[in-house]
C-alpha cells in the first residue's frame, strides 16, 4: 500500500469545479437560500425578510435580513450578549435566552417601523401556539425563519428564538411541531412543558437535582449562577422580569468604541512608493559619491 501513487494529477485540478465559496466554508445552504430569497417577480422590488438565527458557543445572533444583488442588508439585529442590559447575565445560550433574543429582536423591529403599539404580541408567555392577527391599517411584519445548517429537531433552541419573535408580534409562518414539548405520540404540543422551557424550567430542574445528588458538580457547573445568587426557584421570576424589561425598552444602544490600542510593531513597516523612490535616489547618490572618492583615490 505504501507505494501506491495516489496523486491528484494535473488533469484533476484542471477539471475540478470549486463549489461556491460559502459552501466551501460550510456556512450557507444554497438550496435553502434560493427558496428563501426568491421573491415573486410580480412583486418587483418588495423585500422578502428572513429571520436569521445563528448560535455560536457563547452567543446567539438573531437578525432580520433582506437580500439585494449588492449583498444582504440587515434591517435589525439582536444578540444574546445584549441581554445583561435587561437583567439576564448567565445562561446566555439556552432555550430561555433564545426566547429572550427573539423577543428583543421582534420588539426592536416593530419599534423601528413604529408598529409596536399596534402589534403587542403575546405579552404573557404561556407556551401555547400564538399567531399574530392583522389589526389596524398595517398588516403585521412578515418574515421567514432561516435556520441555516442546523438539524431541525423538536425542542431546538432555534425554535425558542422563533417563539420569542412570534410572541413579540412578528408574522412568521410556522407550526408547533418542533417546539419543545411536542410529543410525537399524541401529536400535540404540551403547553406546560413548553412554558417550562421558555422560563428556564429545565435548567432549574437540573439545578435542583444536582444540588441534591452531586453538590460538588453543582458548584462547578453552576458557579456563575451561584456567584450571582440565582437559585432554582427564582429563575422563572428572573425571566419574567427580563421579558418585561425587553418590552419596555427594546432600542439598540451602541457600545462606546475605544480607539484601537497602539501595538508594538514586530515587523518592518512597508514603505510607500514615494519613500522607495527617495531611498533609491539616496543610494545612487551615495554610490556616485563613493565612486567619485575612489576615482580620486585611484588617481
Amino acid at each position: 500500500m505504501v507505494f501506491v501513487k495516489a496523486q491528484k494529477s494535473k488533469a484533476y485540478f484542471k477539471r475540478y469545479q470549486v463549489k461556491f465559496k460559502r459552501r466551501r466554508e460550510g456556512k450557507t445552504d444554497y438550496r435553502a437560500r434560493i427558496r428563501l430569497i426568491n421573491q415573486d417577480k410580480n412583486k418587483y422590488n418588495t423585500p422578502k425578510y428572513r429571520l436569521v438565527v445563528r448560535f455560536s458557543n457563547k452567543d446567539i445572533v438573531a437578525q432580520i435580513v433582506s437580500a439585494t444583488i449588492a449583498g444582504d442588508v440587515v434591517l435589525a439585529a439582536a444578540h444574546a450578549h445584549e441581554l445583561p442590559r435587561y437583567g439576564l447575565e448567565v445562561g446566555l445560550t439556552n432555550y430561555a435566552a433564545a426566547y429572550c433574543t427573539g423577543l428583543l429582536l421582534a420588539r426592536r423591529v416593530l419599534k423601528m417601523l413604529e408598529m409596536d403599539s399596534e402589534y403587542e404580541g403575546n405579552v404573557e408567555a404561556t407556551g401555547e401556539d400564538y399567531s399574530v392577527e392583522p389589526a389596524g391599517e398595517r398588516r403585521p411584519f412578515r418574515a421567514l425563519l432561516d435556520v441555516g445548517l442546523i438539524r431541525t429537531t423538536t425542542g431546538n433552541r432555534v425554535f425558542g428564538a422563533l417563539k420569542g419573535a412570534l410572541d413579540g408580534g412578528l408574522d412568521i409562518p410556522h407550526s408547533d411541531k418542533r417546539f419543545a414539548g411536542f410529543s410525537k405520540d399524541s401529536k400535540q404540543l404540551d403547553v406546560d412543558v413548553h412554558r417550562k422551557y421558555i422560563y428556564g424550567g429545565h435548567v432549574a430542574a437540573y439545578m435542583s437535582t444536582l444540588m441534591e445528588d452531586e453538590p460538588e458538580k453543582y458548584q462547578s457547573h453552576f458557579s456563575e449562577y451561584i456567584k450571582r445568587g440565582i437559585e432554582a426557584d427564582n429563575i422563572e421570576a428572573m425571566y419574567k422580569k427580563v421579558h418585561a424589561a425587553i418590552r419596555a425598552d427594546p432600542t439598540l444602544k451602541k457600545p462606546e468604541k475605544q480607539p484601537p490600542k497602539e501595538h508594538k510593531r514586530y515587523n518592518l513597516k512597508k514603505l510607500t512608493y514615494e519613500e522607495r523612490k527617495a531611498r533609491l535616489i539616496e543610494r545612487l547618490n551615495a554610490l556616485n559619491s563613493a565612486a567619485g572618492d575612489e576615482d580620486e583615490d585611484d588617481e
Binding site: 477539471r15 475540478y16 469545479q17 463549489k19 430569497i37 417577480k41 410580480n42 418587483y44 437580500a67 439585494t68
Partner: protein, 164 residues
C-alpha cells in the same frame, strides 16, 4: 429508427451547462427584477427544467410584456415563411438575462435630458443629435526631413559575397 423532432431535439450541446459551471446557479438571477417594456436576452439554463423556451428562442432578444410569479412573458420576433410574427412566450427567470442592446440608448437619454435641462437654465438652444463621423481634417506635415533615394548601379563583386 428515424430521428425524432421532439421539443428538445438536437439540443445536446445547446442546453448543456458550460465547462465547470454546473450545479447551483448564482442567486443574482433570482434577485433581478424585470419591468414591462424591458429588453431581455433568452439564454436557456439546462439545469432548470421548468419554464424552458423552445430551442428556437435561445439567443433571441425580446421585450417583456407580462410578469408573473416566477416567469416573464417575452415578445420575440420569429420569421415564419414570408412574414415575421411577434410571438409571445412565457419563460422562467432562470432562462432570461437583462439585455444590454439598448443600454447605450438609455444612457444617452439620461445624458441628453441633463444637457437640455442645463441649456434651458442658461437659456440657450442646443442640439443633442448624434452626428456621424466626418472625414478627417486637413493638416500640415511637420518636421519631415527629405531623404532622396536613388538606385545604385549593380555591382557584381559586392553581391556575390556569400557564395563566391
Amino acid at each position: 429508427m428515424p430521428a425524432g423532432h421532439g421539443l428538445r431535439s438536437r439540443t445536446r450541446d445547446l442546453f448543456s451547462r458550460p465547462f465547470r459551471k454546473k450545479g447551483y446557479i448564482p442567486l443574482t438571477t433570482y434577485l433581478r427584477t424585470y419591468k414591462i417594456g424591458d429588453y431581455v436576452d433568452i439564454k436557456v439554463n439546462g439545469a432548470v427544467h421548468k419554464g424552458m423556451p423552445h430551442k428556437f428562442y435561445h439567443g433571441r432578444t425580446g421585450r417583456v410584456w407580462n410578469v408573473t410569479k416566477r416567469a416573464i412573458g417575452v415578445e420575440v420576433n420569429k420569421q415564419v415563411g414570408n412574414r415575421i410574427i411577434r410571438k409571445r412566450i412565457h419563460v422562467r427567470i432562470e432562462h432570461v438575462q437583462p439585455s444590454r442592446c439598448n443600454e447605450d440608448f438609455r444612457l444617452r437619454k439620461i445624458k441628453n435630458d441633463q444637457l437640455k435641462a442645463e441649456a434651458k437654465a442658461r437659456g440657450e438652444k442646443i442640439s443633442t443629435k448624434r452626428q456621424p463621423e466626418g472625414p478627417k481634417l486637413g493638416f500640415m506635415v511637420e518636421g519631415a526631413t527629405i531623404e532622396t533615394v536613388t538606385p545604385i548601379p549593380y555591382d557584381v563583386v559586392n553581391d556575390l559575397k556569400g557564395g563566391y
